[in-house]
Symmetry: C2
Subunit: 218 residues, 2 copies
DNA sequence: CTCTGCCTACCGCATTTGAGTGATGCCGGC
DNA sequence: GCCGGCATCACTCAAATGCGGTAGGCAGAG
């Protein structure tokens, strides 16, 4: 069939995967798809950036591995998005820890698929992101949503009501005295609450507390 | 037991939709699915809560409309999750504004599908959420991801490269000396950078900085 | 009744942090 | 060449913060 209904040219895809065997496997499969066209194959971020200038047209989608060497995939993301702002990036990795997912999304990834999925899902993810979607594996999507729930686990029951209120003030960027004013307490009382909060949440500074709160690790 | 092919009983689904016509349409379609069993049909949040006690078993999934009357769906969410903590909620609505999505996710929704989708997608979303996923329509997923990119605008160009690195350290919850160690600088140098950052970003404390960073107001 | 946990408040002390000032060197624009 | 911005380091001072303990009142559990 000559694809009489296809209104679009094949999608230009770049594949960055450090394992040569997997790279071969993925490229074999993906390139065989009529909707896709693999314009770049790289085994590292460096190789990817080296090959970029050779392309006539920038890739529309990059499948980016969060490689074994350190976190090269994550490190490369900002530069990639800077060079190719209109290119969609789908992370593709075995790691599903919240922090790595969070980092990837903050750095501009538009999709995050895990590596234990069928090849068809990989293809679907690439097409989906090109259509303006945000493909995410089940576990990843859940992690992302978990990021929105205020504090379903830790702080519930752990912190007393007063401590919650004090915490709220701190999260708003207030100092001890300002929190005290807001709650109509003595600054010393607030200080006591703050100390107890630190102990309960296992942190040892305002900065650490706010940082972890921001990451939803609270 | 009969049902030789089914390892699981049909999924108990509750459908809350204020438009009688749509409710009929959806329930007709969804109840016809062998994997699903509509145990509750409601035209409002009140009706839903009224019918809940009559059920032998709580629904496993609730398809919740963000109804036309105000935002009844959103308002009902916290109560719903409180009564049925283990029930998954999929929002189902025509609204795709960021704030409504954000509110829904914060309040405990695990899925968010728009109303202009094929009925098959609705069914898929229900099954997906029951399997531990987080089904979201394309546009919704993008909104969610957009929520993570905190600072594409302001700080770019405003802060020097060094200052960005120092800021990064602060955001990670580190103190001056720790940032200094990470960057291989004198603590005094870091302190100078911190002061300059405060001036440029118009804040006057670490707490305020981290707070605004968390809110994406940076 | 005792014990525990919470809320309140205070004291003291070491460290961190915010704010000001100054100094050196590098770089780039005018 | 001068000036401004940047990066680096240093010093002071006052305020905020982290950390330890003490202590009375109050409520619920044992």
């Amino acid at each position: 069939m000559s694809a009489p209904f296809s209104t679009t040219a094949p999608l230009r895809l770049a594949l960055v995967e450090d394992d040569p065997e997997l790279r071969q496997l993925y490229s074999d499969y993906l390139c065989r798809q009529p909707e896709l066209s693999c314009v770049l194959l790289a085994g590292s971020a460096e190789s990817f950036f080296d090959q970029l200038p050779d392309l006539l047209q920038a890739p529309q989608v990059v499948l980016l591995d969060v490689g074994l060497p350190g976190r090269s995939g994550l490190d490369a993301l900002p530069r990639l998005k800077q060079l190719l702002p209109d290119t969609e990036v789908v992370m593709h990795t075995v790691f599903d820890d919240p922090d790595r997912i969070y980092q990837a999304l903050c750095r501009g990834a538009s999709g995050y698929v895990l590596k234990n999925q069928p090849l068809a899902d990989l293809k679907a993810a690439v097409l989906e992101v090109a259509r303006g979607g945000a493909p995410m594996s089940r576990a990843v999507a859940r992690q992302v949503l978990a990021h929105f729930k205020p504090t379903p686990t830790a702080q519930a029951g752990l912190l007393s009501e007063r401590e919650q209120q004090v915490l709220e003030g701190m999260v708003d960027g207030l100092g001890d005295k300002q929190v005290a004013t807001r709650l109509g307490l003595s600054p010393d009382t607030v200080r006591t609450h703050v100390k107890n909060i630190y102990r309960k949440l296992q942190v040892s500074s305002r900065a650490e507390l706010l940082s972890r709160h921001a990451k939803g690790q609270l």
